[in-house]
């Protein structure tokens, strides 16, 4: 009994995995069609491209015994076929009907495992019938839709073949993601052990004269390191999925939100084929939804306001993904009214910030702080108790950064920079007062040897001239609370950076670069601001990972 249920559960999961993306693609295409029809474009190509997908969804739903999905897909097919034959019926009403139907289909498939409620499907089918009947009444009765309905049986084989061209022979297998997580964990252990072996070798090499065996051992270790590195690369690639898999639902979300607010918003995405570690993707979806929601509700103006500002009635949201030096950059730009600087200023004043010392960008980045919301009333759509602080927090937890740029009257751009992968972090290992720390390479701009008088005092803060700019240089021991005095003379400073922010940290030694396996910090230990996690070094000892982002954000006097 239990095994039967499990088998069915697995089948349902397979069904969802196969059909949900298809339904989402269909939904996106309908949203695009709705837009094109509004602009007078016939959109023939799109209409034709949808048939195979709808047909596959219908067929799979029938096979799984899911009548609501089957009938909705069928009804959508009918509407498409009808519109294909009757271009005059394309327009706002048809578009809305299709978008609504595909939304229903997506919801039904998403909740397929829970047993679908057939009522909304019935209501939708009745709407479709009314629409088709009215269409036939207006135009002279056309034979083609009828024909299509009859022809469907014969057509089935060909479109089935089109929908799954290579199944069975493609060499693709489906793997539970938890297995990939487990593999990564084992790989991490292997890397620590390999570092331990290398460490032992170095100890041995110092004590003994070079022998042939020692040279061979050295070679073997280097070969092992290369192999592990390759294995890591392959595993990381396996974990990557295109970012479009979370973008899939955005056009619909934005359309529905905009409609509820009597606005019109068009989403343009690019770079959706760029891959990201699934573990990051899973967590970044919600923050992105939050930013999109904010943009539609607070950013983009209503049509009248836009007309007054000389903007097109339809607002535009650009979601662009690109890669820059090993990181994924997601830029979300709206063409709305921009952030309300005066309100941010008032709020910052009431919270007692030192305003004169802040430039406009610093001021605007206050919106990421907890409890810093400038919206007057809680909107049922935007305000789900989640603020930008939660967005910023998630991004930071992923080792990423978020920045905001606002052009008053022209719009806002949020820029998220994320690591491609979470688990393995290339780091610079440094030593401060005999403690070792890992600094993620992604935030290391430079390492500098200190000379006498490199560090000057200014406003009780250490500063240094670095590449023509004065940057603050803090003592590592003070920052990390090692107890050593602030006057300890240290031989190096590491310049950490994020966007335009930079800061030097004085350290005693630079130990080297290493790929470290990130281990999270037990909350029992606390929530340090300067440490984001821990790792195990080659000698088996634990080192803390410096949280460069938070250190850069701090305004400490150290």
């Amino acid at each position: 009994m239990a095994t039967d249920e499990n088998a069915f559960g697995e089948l349902i999961q397979d069904y969802i995995i196969e059909c949900l993306p298809l339904a989402e693609q269909v939904g996106d295409a309908f949203i695009e069609l709705e837009r094109r029809w509004r602009e007078g474009d016939a959109g023939d190509d799109l209409l034709v491209s949808l048939k195979g997908r709808l047909h596959t969804v219908k067929g799979n739903s029938a096979m799984m015994g899911l009548p609501p999905m089957q009938t909705v897909a069928h009804a959508l097919e009918d509407v498409c076929a009808f519109l294909d034959a009757e271009p005059a019926m394309r327009g706002e009403e048809a578009g809305a009907l299709l978008v609504r139907g595909s939304g229903l289909l997506i919801d039904l498939i998403r909740t397929a495992a829970e047993g679908a409620d057939p009522k909304p499907a019935g209501r939708f089918v009745r709407r479709v019938r009314t629409f088709l009947a009215r269409g036939r009444k207006i135009k002279a009765p056309s034979k083609r839709p009828q024909l299509l309905l009859e022809r469907r049986r014969g057509e089935r084989r060909s479109s089935e073949a089109e929908a799954r061209p290579t199944e069975g022979s493609s060499g693709v297998v489906r793997v539970d993601f938890r297995r990939l997580d487990a593999m990564l964990e084992v790989l991490g252990e292997g890397m620590i052990e390999q570092a331990a072996v290398a460490e032992l070798y170095r100890g041995l090499a110092r004590k003994t004269r070079a022998t042939d065996e020692l040279v061979d051992l050295d070679r073997a270790i280097i070969a092992l390191q290369k192999t592990m590195k390759r294995l890591e690369g392959i595993l990381m690639e396996t974990r990557l999925i295109p970012i479009s898999s979370v973008f899939g639902r955005f056009p619909r979300l934005v359309r529905d939100l905009a409609q509820a607010k009597q606005k019109r918003v068009h989403v343009v995405t690019s770079g959706g084929d760029i891959p990201l570690d699934k573990a990051i993707l899973d967590r970044i979806a919600e923050p992105l939804v939050h930013l999109l929601t904010n943009a539609v509700i607070h950013g983009i103006e209503g049509p009248q306001e836009r007309a007054r500002a000389g903007k097109p009635a339809e607002g535009r949201l650009d979601l662009r993904v690109s890669t820059e030096s090993g990181r994924v950059i997601i830029r979300l730009t709206d063409d709305g009214r921009g952030l309300d600087d005066s309100r941010i200023l008032a709020k910052a004043q009431s919270l007692g910030f030192d305003l004169p010392s802040m430039d406009p960008d610093q001021l605007r980045s206050l919106i990421f702080l907890p409890g810093f919301t400038t919206a007057d009333r809680v909107s049922s759509l935007a305000g789900r108790g989640v603020g930008l602080d939660v967005v910023a927090n998630t991004v930071h937890e992923l080792g990423g950064t978020i920045e905001v740029e606002s052009r008053p009257g022209q719009g806002v751009t949020f820029t998220l920079s994320l690591p491609l992968t979470l688990a393995i972090l290339r780091s610079l290992i440094v030593e401060v007062d005999r403690e070792r720390y890992a600094v993620p390479i992604s935030h290391v701009a430079a390492t500098v040897r200190t000379e006498p008088n490199t560090i000057q005092e200014m406003n009780e803060k250490g500063v240094a001239l670095w590449r023509g700019d004065l940057i603050q240089v803090s003592d590592g021991g003070t920052l990390l609370g090692t107890g050593a005095g602030p006057n300890a003379s240290r031989r190096f400073y590491v310049v950490i950076s994020m966007g335009s922010r930079r800061r030097g940290i004085l350290v005693d030694r630079l130990i080297g670069h290493q790929d470290i396996v990130v281990k999270s910090l037990d909350p029992m230990v606390g929530r340090p601001e300067v440490v984001s996690g821990t790792t195990i070094l080659g000698d088996g000892k634990v080192a803390c990972i410096l949280d460069a982002v938070r250190i850069l954000e701090q305004r400490m006097s150290a």
């Binding site: 821990t534 195990i536 634990v542």
Partner: protein, 159 residues
């Protein structure tokens, strides 16, 4: 029924008078403390403990327990004593508290004992400094004085 032979028993062990507490005892400043054996996963020698900057009070640091990161709690300072000096006798008792695994740093681990429940009495007022509600009782047993600790009360402080 009376004709049946007596069940075998070890003559050296006094006949057990009733329920027993199965405890792991350890030393802090020559006083003896104990926790239920069910909470103890293992006892390890002290490897290097890495200090974590800005950690909460009473956290000694983190250590590598076969590839896992183990938080080590300084229970001496939690009990108002000076922080431990690591000696060859020092041990980390790995315990399960709630759904967490933690290490507690102790001066020395003495042994595993079975103590009759009847030897346990409530902790006398004078050993209970304010905030010491984690001492649940005192066992007087074989001329030893063993203080029983409630780890949950002691370690799971409000964040």
């Amino acid at each position: 029924v009376s004709a049946r032979p007596e069940p075998l028993s070890f003559p050296t062990e006094a006949p057990s008078p009733g329920p027993e507490l199965h405890l792991v005892t350890f030393a802090l400043d020559r006083e003896e403390f104990a926790i239920p054996i069910g909470q103890v996963r293992e006892v390890i020698r002290v490897a290097e403990i890495t200090r974590v900057p800005q950690a909460r009070a009473h956290v000694r640091g983190v250590t590598n327990l076969r590839g896992r990161i183990l938080a080590v709690i300084e229970i001496r300072s939690r009990m108002g004593l000076l922080p431990a000096e690591i000696t060859p006798k020092s041990r980390v008792v790995v315990v399960g508290v709630g759904d967490r695994t933690l290490g507690i740093l102790v001066d020395a681990v003495s042994q595993v004992v079975k103590v009759p429940a009847t030897t346990v009495s409530p902790a006398p007022e004078e050993v209970l400094s304010p905030g010491a509600g984690y001492i649940t009782g005192v066992a007087r047993w074989n001329s030893r004085l063993i203080m029983l600790l409630d780890l949950e009360k002691m370690l799971l402080l409000p964040e």
